[in-house]
């Protein structure tokens, strides 16, 4: 009897462990720069991310070349001059939901969260904190967030000529639709 119970407990653990991770490969991250001279917007719909609801760990991986601008020339400058994406093709974020206990993943609804972690871009890593919303829906989890970053903090140098065309602080928007790992 004891053995059966032990086996049941172990198999339950494995089922549960698998059910803790949520993933997406088509997440969205965009950024927006507003200046009196011009507005610049870039969208990336190929963000890969994993959310572990048991530990609150949240990881993002982004390809710099997957940011698309309306103007091709701008996209080229972004990759070649500012982000040097041939040298540094990816940007990653690795962090944790700080107030994990305030999210009930068994109950559909929206929960305010604060996420803190390391944001790596252009070979510079910076501790970043952002507020967001976790939305538990039937069969998945959606996460959204908005925060600001300054290019200079990531050693991204913008030449003097165009410095006024790009905002000191860029608004970043994140929209992820996670599905359970086994349902990919």
């Amino acid at each position: 009897m004891k053995r059966i119970l032990l086996l049941l407990a172990i198999s339950f653990f494995f089922i549960e462990a698998g059910a803790q991770k949520y993933m997406t490969k088509t997440g969205y991250i965009g950024f927006y720069s507003h200046t009196p001279i011009e507005d610049i917007k870039a969208d990336n719909n190929q963000v890969a991310g994993i959310l572990d609801i048991s530990t609150g760990e949240i990881v993002f991986q982004v390809l710099i070349k997957s940011f698309h601008f309306e103007k091709t020339l701008m996209e080229e400058h972004f990759n070649e001059n500012y982000m040097e994406s041939d040298k540094f093709p990816k940007s990653t974020f690795s962090g944790k939901i700080l107030n994990l206990s305030s999210v009930d993943f068994t109950k559909n609804g929206k929960y305010d969260v604060t996420v803190e972690g390391d944001l790596n871009m252009h070979n510079v890593t910076k501790k970043t904190t952002a507020k967001g919303v976790i939305e538990v829906i039937t069969g998945g989890i959606n996460a959204t967030s908005r925060f600001n970053i300054a290019p200079e903090e990531f050693k991204i140098t913008i030449p003097g000529i165009v410095r006024e065309n790009i905002a000191r602080s860029l608004e970043v928007t994140v929209k992820m639709n996670y599905l359970p790992l086994e349902k990919q």
Binding site: K25, T26, Y28, Q46, A48, L73, P89, K90
Partner: protein
């Protein structure tokens, strides 16, 4: 005005005009139309994934910025809020697929699940999958 001065001014004006037109063209050019460009590589989705499984760094360096034509069965099609469309191809490896992002609208009818498709795109990098951008449907 003396004739040589007139000629000189006209030449300068024409050069300036060409310059402005050239700049405007550069500024407003859209993404390259890959249906008119020859691919650097033609490969099946299965073989492409195997190269990344074997040596990710070498494969990334080999394909970076190149135009790759991939042949493989359709896994699924996804249309985003902003109309950006991506088609995912099967590779025989459930964890690592080929994701092709289309910058222009595509006809969903042409992408039935399991249908063998040929898609040409610019290799952008490897996250968990192979990511191609600016894709066009070849077959």
């Amino acid at each position: 005005m003396k004739k040589p001065v007139k000629i000189a001014l006209s030449v300068i004006f024409i050069i300036a005009l060409v310059g402005v037109i050239g700049a405007l063209y550069m500024f407003n050019k859209g993404h390259k139309d890959l249906s008119k460009v020859n691919p650097d590589f033609v490969i099946t989705s299965t073989d492409l994934v195997k190269e990344f499984e074997k040596d990710e760094a070498a494969a990334t360096a080999k394909y970076m910025n190149k135009i790759v034509e991939v042949i493989g069965p359709v896994h699924y099609l996804k249309v985003e809020e902003n109309k950006a469309t991506s088609v995912t191809l099967q590779t025989g490896n459930a964890a690592s697929l080929v994701i092709c992002s289309f910058s222009t609208g595509i006809d969903p009818e042409k992408f039935d699940v399991d249908k063998m498709s040929t898609i040409r795109g610019e290799f952008s990098g490897f996250l968990m999958d192979i990511l191609l951008n600016n894709c066009v449907l070849i077959k």
